[in-house]
């Protein structure tokens, strides 16, 4: 069963590749049918799951004493993840049917998406870390293809490259972490990691936290945490449904999922690092989100920020809540992206006079796109963290966990984590409010579009509507104010949630902050009818560029590497190869390496090298001048020299070698 579930998308990929181009929608409906089947299968599988996880594995590669296996392991969480992936993918596929209509490379689009779904399922179904890594990279690959889907434009091409490379940095850490795990625990099987005991015969004790940090590096890359989060905002160059599925709902959450799975082997110090990184990410991204002008970039930074929350949740020990937030976030953020996509699509249809992604050009869409607005509102408020919505339940849980953690750890510094969490909650509400007001509130700021904007078609609104329903509290928990009593926590409950006394004040404060944020946003942006001439003060600049992260990396890593490669290439041509050629020049004694060396001298102040090489060349030349008189051309002269040399050699032999 898990095999069928895992392979179904790959099967679809093959089928679409072969027959897709014969359909009007290039195989889109085929894919949707397949995914619907997948939803049914994975739901059925979910009902089958009892206390015992489905586990199967077989040998993949056996070398010496090392046996690498492949297999799956389906427990409740995995089963749920399968349903989630299939479900959200199905909705996004349906949405894409309308959004991507008429694109010349549509077959490719469906194929890539199927590849993504398959790889994502692979991550959750895998039972060992190495197999997770395999699909981890494949997910990155499909993400690369999808970000660069509109490859003819420069920005997507660059963004896709950047995303893959930044992810690869994290992946390398992950790979090294896997090796370290294997040496420390003698085990790569996820389900057995919990009971495995670290032995330090093969690696020193210092590797235990290092191993945790290395594994965490993988999550940092994939889940866009500090310091590798820069790829995610640029990934918005991909088609919007892709952003919604991959870069908001599923792929980026894979890091959090994995972190929850492997947190058993992480030491306290590592978990502290995790918590701090998560908090920092959440806070930084929230600040950046408050000043963005691109409709999708706001959501992208918001995604980073929310992922930061989840990572923080894991760091402070609130795994269930972090995973819970993963699920609720998947729904509401997907809905927000799809709604944004619907807006972009409709504005695009209205005319090419202005950039349909720039918030400054929008406004007042409440009237012309009222149904889209209705679908947009619940997920937006869920993101802001208002009660009666799903986001509140899970975010509240994480904040509560952070407060409890700070209380248990004591110390002022520990309190920074929940504090930053609270501030981020306020900022989140502020940028959500700003986003909503700028799109739907006020008046339309692009006169050219006036009267031409129509509401999104039903095929787009349907998926958003379904996702919006899941943004309400009811699908998750009966109690609109307390997520920990919901079915989700009970189902996946890794441990019994301790009932904390802090619950009420934490909830209260976060609600107040959210309301405050929204109020502030509405005050600032409700009358925003004018064009925005963003004041270029320092803070705004800092936030807009996400603390100049990209520029810093450009100078810290990219430039040096590009510089080093030029130097090395020069070194390879001129020095390494130059030595070889130099020897050849000297023996041939025909051309002098002046011409090539003058280039060297011009480019680099290599006086020493120059001098040495010229010196060798000169001495060779002068020797040649002296010896040329021997080349008389008379045969007998040559022969005489030969015999003379032979005699000398014989003499040497006679003198220096002992007689036998």
């Amino acid at each position: 069963m898990p095999l069928i579930i895992g392979l179904l998308p790959f099967l679809l990929l093959g089928v679409i590749a072969v027959v897709g181009k014969n359909f009007a929608d290039k195989g889109g409906k085929l894919a949707i049918g397949g995914l619907a089947l997948g939803v049914m299968l994975s739901s059925y599988q979910f009902t089958l799951l009892g206390e015992q996880a489905l586990i199967w594995e077989t040998s993949w590669l056996e070398v010496g004493e090392i046996n690498l296996t492949v297999g799956w392991q389906v427990d409740t969480l995995t089963g749920l993840m399968c349903v989630l992936i299939y479900g959200i993918s199905l909705l996004v596929f349906v949405f894409s049917l309308a959004y991507m209509k008429g694109d010349p490379y549509l077959v490719r689009y469906w194929m890539y998406l199927c590849l993504f779904v398959g790889a994502m399922l692979g991550i959750v179904l895998s039972n060992n870390l190495l197999q997770v890594f395999v699909f981890w990279e494949l997910v990155g690959f499909s993400s690369y293809l999808l970000i660069g889907f509109w490859f003819e434009k420069d920005a997507p091409a660059r963004a896709s490259q950047q995303a893959f490379l930044v992810n690869r940095v994290g992946d390398i850490g992950f790979l090294l972490g896997i090796f370290a795990t294997w040496l420390l625990f003698g085990e790569l099987n996820i389900s057995e990691l919990g009971s495995a005991k670290a032995s330090f015969d093969r690696m020193s004790e210092a590797w235990l936290p290092a191993c945790g940090v290395l594994l965490f590096l993988g999550c940092i890359g994939k889940s866009a945490q500090f310091p590798l989060q820069l790829w995610l905002p640029d990934a918005m160059e991909g088609p919007t449904p892709v952003s919604s599925l991959i870069h908001a709902a599923t792929m980026v959450a894979a890091g959090v999922y994995l972190l929850a799975r492997i947190s058993v082997i992480m030491t306290t110090e590592v978990l502290t690092v995790v918590a701090v990184v998560g908090t920092l990410t959440a806070f930084m991204a929230a600040i950046a989100a408050t000043v963005q002008w691109d409709i999708k970039r706001v959501l992208a930074y918001s995604t980073i920020s929310q992922l930061g929350y989840m990572v923080m949740g894991i760091g402070v020990g609130a795994y269930e809540m972090a995973l819970f937030h993963l699920f609720t976030h998947a729904f509401f953020k997907c809905a927000l992206f799809l709604a944004a996509g619907a807006v972009i699509h409709q504005l695009h249809a209205a005319g090419h006079e202005a950039d349909p992604q720039d918030l400054r050009n929008m406004g007042g869409l409440r009237q012309s796109m009222s149904r889209t607005f209705a679908c947009y509102l619940p997920p937006a408020l869920a993101l802001a963290g208002l009660p009666l919505l799903s986001g509140f339940l899970s975010k509240d849980g994480i904040l509560l966990g952070a407060v409890d953690w700070a209380e248990a750890n004591g110390g002022m510094l520990a309190w920074l984590v929940p504090m930053a969490g609270f501030i981020t909650a306020g900022l989140t509400a502020y940028y959500v409010g700003r986003h909503a007001w700028l799109i739907f509130g006020g008046k339309l700021r692009t006169p050219a579009w006036a009267g031409k904007i129509s509401d999104a078609p039903i095929i787009m609104l349907g998926p958003i509507f379904i996702l919006a329903v899941f943004s309400l509290w009811l699908p998750w928990s009966w109690n609109p104010l307390d997520g920990s009593s919901g079915w989700f926590i009970e189902l996946i409950g890794l441990s019994e949630p301790a009932h904390s006394d802090n619950h009420w004040w934490v909830g209260g404060v976060s609600v107040l902050l959210s309301l405050g944020g929204i109020a502030w946003a509405s005050l600032r942006f409700r009358q925003a009818a004018q064009k925005f001439d963003a004041p270029q003060n320092g803070f705004r600049q800092l936030a807009f560029t996400h603390f100049f992260q990209k520029e810093m990396y450009q100078y810290a890593f990219v430039k040096p590497v590009l510089w080093v490669k030029e130097i090395l290439a020069w070194f390879d041509r001129r020095i390494v190869d130059g030595v070889v050629n130099g020897i050849a020049f000297i023996t041939v004694n025909k051309h002098w390496p002046y011409s090539s060396l003058s280039l060297v001298a011009a480019r680099f102040d290599a006086v020493v090298i120059d001098g040495v090489v010229n010196g060798i060349a000169k001495s060779a030349a002068s020797m040649g001048r002296r010896l040329r008189h021997m080349q008389s051309g008379y045969l007998q002269a040559y022969l005489g020299i030969a015999i003379f040399v032979l005699l000398i050699i014989m003499l040497i032999f006679n003198l220096f070698l002992p007689n036998p």
């Binding site: 080349q631 008389s632 051309g633 008379y634 045969l635 007998q636 022969l639 005489g640 015999i643």
Partner: protein, 101 residues
Amino acid sequence: MIPTSFFLMAGAVLMAIGCFLVLSRKNLIMALMGIELMLNASNLNFVAFTRNDQADLDGQMAGLFIMVLAAAEITVALAIVLALYRKYQSVELDDFDQLKH
């Protein structure tokens, strides 16, 4: 019995004469004759050394071999001399200085 060293000395003298001829004579034919002398010098050495190897007679084998070789060599060499003569109308070695130019 004549000592082996006498044969070797004779061989050395022959070799020196041959060498001198090859290096000094400007006439190609004379130089060739010098080469023949050198070959025969080595031949003499081979045969002389056979005295220490009565069973296998390897040296005499080598001697025979060299004689055959010398015959073949002189044929080819004379042919070359003829060809050179046709080209340069001369058999003087110093006229063949194409290597210099």
